[in-house]
Amino acid sequence: MLARAAREIAPGMVVNLGIGLPTKVINHLSADFEVCLHTENGMSGIGPSLSPERADRNLIDAGGAYVSTVPGSAFFDSVTSFAMVRSGRLDLTMLGAFEVAANGDLANWKIPGKFSPGVGGGIELAQKARRVVVLTTHTDRAGNPKLKSECVLPLTARACVARIFTDMAVIDVGPNGFELVETAEGVTPTDVAAATDAPLVLPEMTPPTF
């Protein structure tokens, strides 16, 4: 799933990888791959993560992980960082999700009564990146589908998600809702449909696996 998501990144892109699963995609990019990774706390050109022993106390990503630079990295303040985001300079962002709706609505920041730590930079990434893809387990820990006809939880942004990578499938958000693109090895379209709480448009041919 992470390796598949990494292939979503085209050479030359500016990409923001959200906290959690998306950050791990970095491990699937080769050292000579042409990409500029952005973190909203104020850096372009993120290099590999560092262990605490090797870390620079002043150099973290937005998730608090200690990271490094690459030749050509730049530091900037929070104002400039979000100016990049809102003015459309992020080609792609990969975000986590609690729920994704069939129209691309995303909920990933609040579970009323249970989890409300604040939205951080999530709204602007979801609403303003040129392309938003979600990386998530297909169902939550209790086995409930995260892909739904409509979101129940407070929204992060409306109609923003273009594609979803899960442990079961790659699914596009199209004009007719969720469209199955690929399945994980050993997973059938029927399995995916059963774990999805919304109509799933199946391709005419058996979809490729990843």
Binding site: Y66, D77, G118, G121, G122, L155
Partner: protein
């Protein structure tokens, strides 16, 4: 013409804070958080403060000391995820918390620091963060009015300064510090090193000293500034 010297002691700088003040605090996580100024503000004891800070640090670190000491009545922030103390205080109703989208918090502070009344933005339209905000129509499109934020005092951490208050930051310790350094009536910077006038090349200054009122050189860096072992 020669530039004034704005160096002073930490105590005399923090003495500017009064009960009921709004205080901006730089930092995103540990980097850039003025840990020593925060301790001085705990010692000073001003109460009923409104804090403006990106996050609430972690339990036992940074502004958590002010929260635990009961000095804060209101917190304007973007994310408390790493501080269970702050979330508990919020849920118990002991502090009022206003959440902002991170970039909009930065923009609102920048507006305050730039003599602008507000910015019109579509960020968060159609979400609960839009609730209660004034809406303006412009050329047929709806925008939220994101009002300027200013503070009585800003507490800033920088790597280097000169006596006039020109500041330079390192790496991701920059974050909210430059913008908060623009947006308060009294800007206090704790710095790791004070260089003589001319020690910061004019092209490399991140925050011009015109914005800064007091410069305090840190005698030592406490453990709170170090790499967090998780």
């Amino acid at each position: 013409m020669r530039l004034p010297d704005k160096q002073c002691t930490m105590e005399s700088a923090v003495a500017r804070v009064k009960d009921g003040d709004t205080v901006m605090v730089g930092g995103f996580g540990v980097p850039g958080t003025p840990m020593t100024l925060i301790h001085a503000l705990v010692a000073h004891g001003a109460r009923d403060l409104t804090l403006i800070k990106n996050d609430a640090n972690e339990p036992g670190m940074g502004i958590d000391h002010l929260l635990r000491n009961g000095q804060v009545s209101r917190l304007i922030t973007t994310h408390l995820g790493l501080n269970s103390d702050a979330i508990a205080l919020m849920n118990a109703g002991e502090i009022e918390v206003e959440f902002n989208a991170q970039g909009m918090l930065a923009e609102r502070i920048r507006a305050g620091g730039s003599g602008i009344g507000a910015v019109l933005s579509d960020v968060g339209l159609g979400t609960e963060l839009a609730r209660g905000k004034q809406v303006v129509e412009m050329a047929g499109t709806s925008y939220l009015v994101e009002t300027a934020l200013r503070a009585d005092v800003a507490l800033i951490h920088a790597d280097r300064a000169d006596p006039f208050g020109n500041l330079a930051y390192v790496a991701t310790a920059r974050n909210f510090n430059p913008v908060m350094a623009m947006a308060a009536d009294c800007v206090i910077a704790e710095v790791e090193t004070v260089l003589p006038l001319g020690g910061l090349p004019a092209d490399t200054v991140h925050t011009p000293g015109v914005f800064v009122d007091h410069v305090v050189e840190l005698e030592a860096l406490s453990e709170e500034y170090a790499v967090v072992q998780r």
